[in-house]
């Protein structure tokens, strides 16, 4: 085999390999579209984060705007501290409401941001004050049972 | 002519427990062709490895052109090997290259010569061994004798000062054998080099070499010029030259008594 055909084949091989890597990066891994650009960090405290995990999506109005970076336990407040990044293109008012929500009934949990009405926006590194913990299904059910029981209790007394 | 190119002094060598060479002292004068002979497996090839620095002696000294081979570092050793050529028993041609590329290999690795000059040099070397027409063949397409001549062309590519031949006559037909023998002599004289031939082919060697050493059981047992060897009375050399089955070199590997072994030791 002559040098030039060999070089040609190797060229084809390497080009195909790089094309495959690009395909995986762009088309499959979506490095471009949903990737978060020039992110800034925000923090929020929750009584209960439920099943929220690091790298879970942060959404506002259902659109991906960031990702959860880190989840810690704050031993002074006895609360969970969630650090997350938000795309630099999006600014949120200081009275933004942070919820831990579930996509669908049993889907993955994510951090939802509901913007408030303030003019001032959250600066990088700031903390969101208004939060709502995850809805824990067991608590919800036991609450429901308790309410039902309380409702039905007076009946036998009669 | 006072200072020989290669000098071995009391060289001892062993692979682990197995002693191969006990006490070898010999020298290869400049410009001469020297043969080292001995039965199969007596450590002749090891001797070449010692000279080339691929093995290190356990005792004694190997000096090539005044330098102690064992003390050379890697770079110095490689620098010395560029001035040596070794022809391996079966040629050891690179099977993935053409004959031309095989001969060009040392030139391309060690020199920055332009392609045209390398082309000319390679064709000259191939012409010297009579195989200029085979330049485009692959080693697999060559006969044993041709392969060895190509390997010879590769060995002399860098015009070495010392040529080493490991069993150059093995497995060749009489014609190829004569051709190789004549080439060894002619190339040595043309290059002004010195040559060592390790072989057990006594008849061919007697015709082309200047001096012969006989090695047996790790020692030099006899030496001399071809004329001296032909007329020697030494029983070992006599057995070797005349290819006698039994003599100082026994036919039987050392063993216990034959009769005793057959009767299970009861006799």
């Amino acid at each position: 085999m002559s040098r030039t055909t060999l070089d040609l084949w190797v060229g084809i091989f390497v080009a195909m390999g790089i094309a495959a890597l690009l395909f995986l990066a762009l088309k499959v891994g979506s490095i471009s579209g949903s990737e978060i650009r020039s992110p800034y960090t925000l923090t929020a405290h929750f009584d209960n984060i439920g099943g929220l995990k690091a790298r879970a999506p942060v959404k506002s109005s259902g659109v991906l705007v960031g990702r959860v970076e880190q989840i810690r336990y704050d031993n002074e407040r006895f609360q969970a501290e969630v650090v997350f990044t938000v795309d630099g293109r999006y600014k949120f008012p200081v009275d933004t409401f942070a919820n831990i929500l579930t996509s669908g009934l049993l889907g993955e949990q994510y951090l939802g941001l509901e913007p408030g009405g303030e003019e001032k926006t959250l600066a990088p590194g700031e903390t969101i004050k208004k939060t709502q913990s995850a809805v824990v299904l067991e608590k919800l059910i036991s609450q429901f049972m308790f309410d039902k029981a309380a409702e039905g209790e007076p009946a036998p007394a009669k | 002519m006072s200072d020989p190119l290669v000098r071995l002094e009391n060289v001892r060598f062993a692979y682990g427990e197995r002693t191969i060479l006990r006490d070898i002292s010999l020298s290869i004068p400049r410009g001469k062709v020297v043969a080292i002979m001995g039965g199969s497996g007596c450590g002749k090839t090891t001797l070449l490895r010692l000279i080339g620095g691929q093995e290190k002696a356990v005792g004694g000294q190997v000096r090539v052109d005044g330098q102690d081979v064992a003390t050379l570092g890697r770079d110095a050793l490689y620098a010395m090997r560029r001035r040596m050529g070794m022809l391996f028993q079966f040629g050891a041609l690179f099977t993935d290259m053409t004959v031309f590329d095989n001969v060009a290999f040392p030139l391309r690795e060690h020199t920055e010569l332009p392609a045209e000059l390398i082309n000319d040099l390679v064709l000259m070397k191939l012409h010297a061994v009579g195989l200029r027409g085979a330049a485009r063949l692959m080693p697999g397409e060559l006969s044993g004798g041709m392969a060895r001549r190509v390997a010879l062309a590769r060995t002399i590519a860098l015009d070495p000062m010392l040529l080493m031949y490991d069993e150059p006559f093995t497995g060749l037909d009489p014609i190829s054998l004569g051709v190789i023998g004549q080439l060894i002599r002619r190339l040595n004289d043309a290059l002004g080099a010195s040559s060592v031939i390790v072989t057990h082919d006594i008849q061919e060697s007697l015709q082309i070499v200047d001096y012969i050493y006989f090695i047996s059981e790790g020692r030099v047992v006899a030496e001399g010029t071809p004329d001296e060897i032909r007329h020697t009375t030494d029983p070992f050399v006599h057995q070797f030259v005349h290819a006698e089955v039994d003599g100082p070199v026994p036919f039987h590997y050392p063993s216990d008594d034959y009769a005793a072994a057959l009767t299970g030791g009861k006799a």
Binding site: F13, L24, G29 | R82, A92, T95
Partner: protein, 259 residues
């Protein structure tokens, strides 16, 4: 007693081998200069380990993807989430199957060939002849083959995954009729570039180093007889497979925990 002694000798043997391999690896790195200054040496090896492995990698990738598509659909359908088929196919290929299966195929296709070639060069004294010509066989023969394998492996794994995803797409979208948009968008939403794609590439690079190192080492270290070469080839395939699977476990446990 005998068993313990046997265990001891095996353990010593393994440690020796590891030490040899580590030293050999170091030598390869030291003598790698030529592989990059004389690029045509490495390009030649890229041809032998990369281009010649292309067909088996592409075909196997396609079949693995087709099977993943069929099995994935069958399972996901039970939970009414056959739309996530793209996600399942892509994640299993990118994280595990791509690097691992491509690595195993690469070991048996290219690794064994490299071992055989170097082993035969040793048998025919080509390596010794090269050394006598003051050309280091590690720089001239071993290092280019090593780097050829190291470069080929991630490219082959990426092609394997790509073909697999294409196979999954064929089954899901073309044959079963999952919506094309759902297939891709679900996949893109779930696959993270750094977490899934890049970790998979890192894995395939590690496997490339492991397989290439084992292949050149076994060839260089083999007993120079016909039997020795055949044993070395077997050892290359077996220990490459073990190394890939063990490395995969270790790397997976570091990369994909604590999501």
């Amino acid at each position: 007693m005998g068993g313990l002694r046997k265990l001891g000798s095996v353990a010593i043997e393994v440690v020796w081998q590891l030490g040899f391999i580590a030293r050999f690896f170091w030598l390869i790195l030291v003598y790698s200069g030529q592989s990059f200054t004389r690029l045509n040496l490495t390009i030649r090896e890229l041809y032998f380990s990369g281009v010649l492995s292309l067909l088996i990698i592409l075909v196997s990738g396609l079949f693995v993807g087709l099977v993943l598509g069929l099995q994935g659909y069958e399972i996901l359908q039970r939970y009414g989430s056959s739309d996530s088929m793209g996600t399942m196919v892509a994640l299993s290929l990118l994280r595990e199957l791509g690097p691992v299966v491509a690595g195993l195929l690469f070991a048996s296709r290219a690794g064994s060939a490299v071992t055989a070639e170097i082993g035969l060069m040793k048998v025919t004294e080509q390596l010794k002849a090269m050394d006598m010509m003051a050309v280091s066989p590690i720089a001239r023969v071993v290092a280019p083959r090593f780097w050829g394998g190291v470069i080929s492996m991630p490219l082959l794994a990426a092609m394997f995954s790509t073909m697999g995803i294409f196979g999954g797409w064929l089954i899901g979208v073309v044959f079963i009729g999952i919506d094309d948009g759902a297939f891709w968008s679900q996949m893109q939403a779930a696959v993270d570039f750094r977490y899934d794609v890049l970790n998979g590439v890192i894995k395939s690079c590690a496997f490339g180093v492991a397989v290439s190192l084992i292949a050149v080492f076994q060839g260089y270290d083999c007993v120079p007889t016909a039997e020795g070469v055949s044993r070395a080839i077997t050892r290359t395939v077996v220990s490459s497979a073990l190394a890939i699977l063990a490395l995969d476990f270790v790397m997976t446990s570091f990369m994909f925990r604590g999501l």
